[in-house]
Chain length 197, copies 2
């Protein structure tokens, strides 16, 4: 099943086979916050609850493998292994969410943008040999979406990106394709990362 990018509510369960799905929440006055991105090959959906006021939509062209609600809930009862894997994924998503809370609450705009690029490099770089020094990828989000992810405005995102480009940390083509020559230089701009030095 192939989506081309249109918004949709997910009331069935799916596996993301390719592409990026964005999860967002919004306030009644229009403010919006992206609360997570699902890359392949992750599970999509929220068991045990009517959809928790989260909107899911495709950020890029997305390939899904989806099942009706009932079938998945049957599988979960039948297979321990399935429930176990779901628990592990949920714990990972919780870790990521909390990590991102630090970025949202305590990092400056330049650090937020750098952190976002670093996360992108680690998740969707097409040619990244683990621990490589450089990365190159297409941004799956528009500036406005990035701003909703980082809790800043699209103008600020744009300004910080051009600043990173001016400083030689990244190169940008077509406004969407980003190349990072030195990952470690990018990491230095993310604001300290360790816990308790």
């Amino acid at each position: 099943m192939e989506l081309t990018g249109e918004a949709q509510n997910v009331d069935s369960y799916s596996n993301v086979l390719s592409g990026v799905v964005k999860l967002s929440k919004s306030l009644s006055d229009g403010r919006q916050q992206i609360v997570g991105l699902q890359f392949a090959p992750n599970f999509l959906g929220r068991p045990f609850k009517v959809e928790s006021s989260i909107n899911a939509e495709a950020a890029t062209a997305v390939t899904l493998c989806s099942f009706p609600r009932a079938a998945v809930e049957r599988m979960m009862k039948a297979s321990r292994e399935f429930e176990h894997r779901l628990l592990k994924q949920t714990l990972n998503e919780l870790d990521e969410a909390r990590e991102w809370m630090v970025t949202l609450g305590r990092k400056t705009a330049p650090e937020k943008v750098a952190s976002f690029l670093l996360m992108m490099a680690r998740n969707i770089d097409s040619s990244l040999d683990a621990a490589s020094r450089s990365a190159s990828f297409d941004l799956p989000l528009t500036r406005a979406e990035i701003s909703d992810f980082l809790g800043i405005t699209n103008e600020t995102v744009s300004r910080q990106l051009t600043r990173l480009r001016a400083d030689g940390v990244i190169r940008i083509e077509n406004a969407r394709h980003v190349t990072v020559d030195s990952i470690s230089r990018l990491e230095k701009r993310c604001g300290g990362g360790r816990e308790r030095p």
Copy 2:
């Protein structure tokens, strides 16, 4: 087992029987973000992983019921019901984390403080009959901790609290005990809450 408020790393698993435990992450330059609060009767700990760089410490006097790591992992293998409940709690924490991401990323300082008070009222009010109009409780956190939870400075927290008091939304005694006479008035200050109107 009774803690009196000192910091400690949790490498065993525990149930929170009473009190409030605060979970935080911090950057190497000292900036800190509280990423969650655990109230009774929740589970505390992170299975399947070396502690994920999260610090847990008691915010108030806390009563725990804790088990060694190995015992809990045995229980999880033995009892489906146990793993199932852990999954449900983790999903709930994920929902809360994402809800808070909206507050961190998209709400103003006045809205953040109001949202925090509302959350406190719902979680630790000693005399709250569901859907009651008023609430009264002791804050489990200092101003500095609240600011680390909301991603603002303690000065801003203080200013917004006195503003809420000046506007008659809350009353404050001893700088710690808060009374909310009209919950709905407080809710109006949290910034719209619905998903897609």
